[in-house]
Subunit: 246 residues, 2 copies
DNA sequence: TAGTGGTCTAGACCACATT
DNA sequence: ATGTGGTCTAGACCACTAC
């Protein structure tokens, strides 16, 4: 037995199944349970830990959903991955530089209220011509521009966002501090040649390959929160997408 | 009450919670339940349908995971989306043409066994120089080439794949018929300028923007199944990525 | 205060994979 | 034949939201 029993706190507000899931996830992360290892069966675990089987099952089920475990009827439960993978990650020179201690920067070109044109209004589910917050930013590393980020948000959501916050933190971080929680987003990733204006902003030649991303984001009541249209220098950025059971 | 009761078949091998989930999903899809509508509470539903509350809860939970419903404690369960969204979808001229009745084609340039170079061997978790299956295909619509798809697979997985199958069906479809089930995949999406060779194959000018995708796929025991490196004409393809609770 | 979902129990029987 | 996960029941109490 390499798996230590969890220390369960029944008085804690943290649900028991969650405590168990955290314990198992930590054991996998630490390497106590390795890829390919089998867990003991659910009945044995629940008896040893003094829990009902459904409670243990819920914990295991959560880790299955996270992609760390697989259950096979008649066989058992096995570890298949050591770490949780994020669904989508923008792997960028910008983040690499930040984590390696260098200081990339974000400068805000535009932060204004303006009437929405038809396309923006449609994306945000607002009447055409409604006032919206329009943000335009440039990301630079060592002074070299790498990305141009353009966003439009309902005034009700982003009316109080400040320029200084946007230069220090990501947009979603700013939205959280204002109480807007993004629940789901749809992104469209493509590529195209740089227009003259984009080439000027990004200091690349006209026609250079750019990675593009358009995004619609909504809160948990399906209300539109943000629409964005971003372009990235293709040499500096790529997207990583992780899929399961496809 | 706009929601019709489900017809439950207790003798069916289909689980009750799944029958309920299908019934709710169909009602949402049909529009009987619209975005914003609230379900009756779980206790009432389970009593009316002659099921235990956990069974009804599991059905609702599955649709929450699919992103169709949201549950809020003290409030209730609401519809937030009408259709299930696929996690990642390659939206392409190719698929558009197929669904509009036109006939796009896939031609197999290469289907061979060859020793893996270091990079391929690493991606497939094999010793360097191991024999692998190497596939190279071109996708065309109306005779115009739109994508070049290059894949490498372990011989144990793809040893019996045939040229004709690859010209008729997608790679993953072929893998399923051979008993290889892809469980998870990691994709890296980027952009770059077309090399001379790529420009020739895709009939674009050298330096034209291409959308690129590299993919590692594994089965449910975390064994590598496939590694692929694809390039797409950026005018014809884009990726759609759907995120939740991010 | 009333009503909702969130958590938990202690069983039961079944389907499937392995031996 | 055995052991595993898959499904299901009939309750219980709690935490949160809205009024």
């Amino acid at each position: 037995m390499t798996l230590v029993d969890p220390v369960l706190q029944r008085s804690s507000p943290v649900p028991l199944y969650f405590q168990v899931a955290q314990h198992l996830e930590a054991a996998i992360e630490r390497g106590d349970l390795r890829v390919g290892d089998r867990l003991e069966n659910e009945v044995t675990l629940s008896e040893r830990w003094g829990l009902s089987r459904p409670t243990v099952r819920q914990a295991i089920g959560d880790l299955v959903d996270k992609g760390l475990l697989v259950r096979t009827r008649g066989v058992g439960t096995q570890v298949v991955r050591r770490r949780v993978q994020r669904q989508v990650q923008l792997t960028s020179l910008f983040e690499d530089l930040r984590s390696s201690g260098q200081q990339p920067t974000t400068s805000v070109l535009v932060l204004e209220r303006a009437p929405a044109d038809d396309e923006i209004a449609e994306h945000l589910g607002l009447p055409s011509g409604s006032e919206v917050v329009h943000i335009e930013r440039v990301r630079r590393a060592r002074g070299v521009p790498l990305a141009v980020l353009r966003n439009w948000l309902p005034v009700t959501v982003a009316g109080s966002i400040e320029r200084a916050a946007l230069e220090e933190h990501g947009l979603y971080e700013c939205l959280r501090t204002v109480g807007a929680h993004v629940h789901s987003a749809q992104q469209r990733i493509g590529a195209r040649a740089a227009s003259a204006a984009e080439a000027r902003l990004l200091e690349v030649r006209r026609g250079a390959p750019l990675l593009t991303m358009e995004r619609s984001a909504s809160d948990d009541r399906a209300r539109p929160v943000e629409w964005g249209s971003h372009v990235y220098d293709a040499r500096a950025y790529s997207f990583t997408v992780n899929l399961q059971s496809g």
